[in-house]
Subunit: 451 residues, 2 copies
């Protein structure tokens, strides 16, 4: 199995690092794929990471590793690396990876590096640094094939053989531009191979080119590439001039990160994967969400305090608090998960609010009736005072129904006012259920049991 | 914004369907991209979907739409379609989409269709049907370019121009095989264009070909394509003969589905997106997980019942039950989310068990101390009996610490014994927190308050 082989590789590297067997390690490094090497890095301690990194002799390979690692690991690894070495690595990196890397660097090192870049006159990297991280501009590569429409297929092939285009990453689409760099069409490498060499591009290009603007959110870009099954999508500026390309491999990474981000946000553990952070940083990230969720529990203290007299009469009322809250909480999680994920994947549209909420409400109601009856049966068996089991069943029913309502309504409302439903929903749903379920339960019990 | 335009398109189609404006609709259908049309479908009612589908005159477009829609919508749409029409649509579909579609059909229709396929002698589709859905064999396309290693670049180009290869979907990789169909190398279309036409494939092909076997899990395949930034990966049988290709667009879909699947499983709402299912089906899917989660709440009833005497002395003890359980529950969700997602994305390995669990335990402990103090302060303010606030703080601390422990330990253990951590963890964590937190709280309160 893949993870077996990975485990063996990681353990081997760890062992060799502990023994200081540098020659063996260099041999391994020279043989394995950059992607596999970066996977090994993620499993090492910080000092082992730095040690291993220093053993990589090829600057280009060092650059590839850095572009595959997490932000935290990158910063840790380059701690001991001199600015001049960093610059050497950067010079070997593709422009988009170089720009992303520079953005990670601490202020001082970044300034030194930028000074060098400007001196070198590397426009590509400088231009890419202008764009915010999560936009098309921030993830695009500036190397693409864009040729005039009058060029013939044969001339294009010769151009592809020239030095300038030899290392282009995604040579499968040839974009067509006019004299002012405006994007006017696209054709594929395959078409190039199949038409007569003297056919001009404009005769076989597709003019219906889907493009994205530099400021488009990266998730929107990813959805476009996925929807039309593209291998890449061109990026244009405000004047529709082609400035870059977003490729499908970056799109895959965006989807994976986006999913992880949403999952972590919904649980209130921040946006990035916390496993690489220290205990203190993880704790600090998680505190705020827990605080917001705790508000409902605190209000519940006062609600129950208000009904102290009832509890003094029938202390057994307290026994059902956990199950009433728990069932409500679970239904709330279910409803909000469905809606938040539905909104994120485009299955649910903001305009579907009433349809979605009423459906969740219906499901919550049915589930509340089912579990209300079940638990009422148990309550009757445990404590056969008249009205007690009815209070329990009503408590369960109201808890689960309100949970489904709030769990589905809140994310839709948040989405409407442009607040991220993934992060905002949790604490509100948790708190609302805490307060509403105990209130209804105790109020009903007090009323029904005449206390 | 993209969703604005989508909304306008959907509303327009709905309006025209209500008016029966068929000519206008056919015009729209003929103009828009299949991907956009399928997005519209997802937003229509079942009868509108069937109406719209019948207006699509091009069988090939009908096939494209069907391959993009959810399983439930497909079954609903083809309800009124005759078997002979279905066969006509299938004949126009690529083999992999056809196989996937046949797998969806109800038994009767599937049998009729299969009889036709066999009569037609379409081996491709028949072979694909052999493979389970979630494997490389189940998602691969059977059309690929595999040529002998002695063929020259020029001969390859001519072959590509021939009728047989004209419609190949991913012509960017040319695979090289020996006389027995065994995969021996790969080269790219770009290389083909750049070398001299008389160079044989074996001279410039890469022999280091990464391939997957037909039985490999689709998520593993997707991870391989993502890790090495491939556009496609070849699929081989047990004898290393090339039998198909998994392309990057399918990989994107796998990642998106996998993320949604995990998210929904963790909340106990099933695996597929339930929004398209009826209220009753949604309810039925959600019942089991809720039942498992309810076990803890039921046991808590008995635990609290055991401490009824304490409650009769100090009924105010009940007021803190929600907040103690709630904080524990939230921490439990956080820990289990981190671990389950970490395992799913390969950030956490099963072998890291002690490192991961001890870290989560540490975080749970610190959070427990922080919130224990906060709530103890509130308890002291609300009810200054000696020992009460200590009982509350200890209740909070134990709840949150145990939650972090169980929330991180259980998924790791489940993964070790090959049980899906995403679906199994939730109810266990919920139940354990319910039971443990109330037990510790009441036991400590009874002890400390001498009741």
């Amino acid at each position: 199995m893949a993870s077996e082989r990975n485990y063996i590789l990681i353990e081997t590297v760890k062992r060799l690092l502990r023994r200081g067997a540098h020659a063996r390690l260099k041999k391994i490094i020279s043989r394995i794929h950059a992607a596999d090497l970066s996977m090994v890095f993620s499993s090492l301690s910080a000092s082992h990471q730095r040690q291993l990194f220093s053993l990589i002799e090829d600057r280009q390979q060092q650059g590839k590793i850095l572009s595959e690692l997490d932000e935290d690991i990158v910063l840790s690894v380059i701690e001991g690396v001199s600015v001049s070495d960093i610059i050497e690595i950067l010079d070997q990196m593709p422009s988009d990876d170089a720009a992303a890397f520079i953005k990670l660097l601490p202020r001082e090192q970044a300034d030194d590096v930028l000074a060098h870049i400007r001196k070198k006159g590397d426009e590509d990297v400088e231009n890419l640094l202008m764009y915010p991280d999560d936009t098309a501009g921030g993830i695009m590569i500036p190397d693409f094939i864009a040729l005039p429409e009058d060029m013939t297929a044969g001339e294009v092939v010769s151009t592809l053989q020239s030095k300038e285009y030899k290392d282009i990453e995604m040579p499968f689409y040839i974009y067509v531009i006019d004299e002012d760099q405006h994007l006017s069409g696209v054709c594929s490498l395959r078409q190039l191979v199949l038409v007569r060499p003297d056919t001009p591009l404009k005769n076989f290009m597709s003019t219906d080119v889907i493009s994205v603007t530099t400021d488009m959110d990266q998730e929107e870009v990813a959805k476009i590439v996925a929807r039309y099954n593209f291998l890449a999508v061109p990026v244009v500026d405000e004047e529709h001039r082609m400035v870059g390309l977003v490729t499908v491999d970056d799109v895959i990474d965006i989807f994976r990160e986006e999913a992880t981000e949403d999952i972590l946000k919904m649980a209130g553990v921040g946006e990035e994967f916390v496993e690489t952070k220290s205990v203190f940083r993880s704790t600090r990230i998680r505190l705020p969400w827990l605080f917001a969720s705790c508000v409902g529990g605190v209000i519940a203290i006062f609600v129950i305090g208000h009904f102290e007299a009832s509890l003094q009469q029938i202390s057994y009322l307290a026994a059902f608090i956990p199950v009433i809250m728990g069932m409500g909480g679970n239904v709330g999680i279910q409803s909000s998960t469905i809606v938040v994920r539905g909104l994120a994947t485009g299955r649910i549209h903001i305009q579907d609010l009433w349809r979605v909420v009423s459906k969740e409400l219906a499901v919550g109601l049915i589930l509340g009736v089912v579990y209300g009856c079940l638990l009422a049966g148990l309550a009757q068996f445990q404590y056969s005072v008249a009205g007690f089991s009815l209070a329990v069943s009503m408590g369960v029913l109201s808890s689960m129904t309100v949970a489904a309502l709030i769990g589905s309504l809140l994310p839709m409302l948040f989405a409407r006012i442009n607040v991220d439903p993934a992060v905002a929903t949790g604490p509100f749903v948790t708190s609302a259920i805490d307060i509403v379920s105990v209130f209804f339960y105790f109020q009903l019990a007090t009323f029904l049991l005449g206390i």
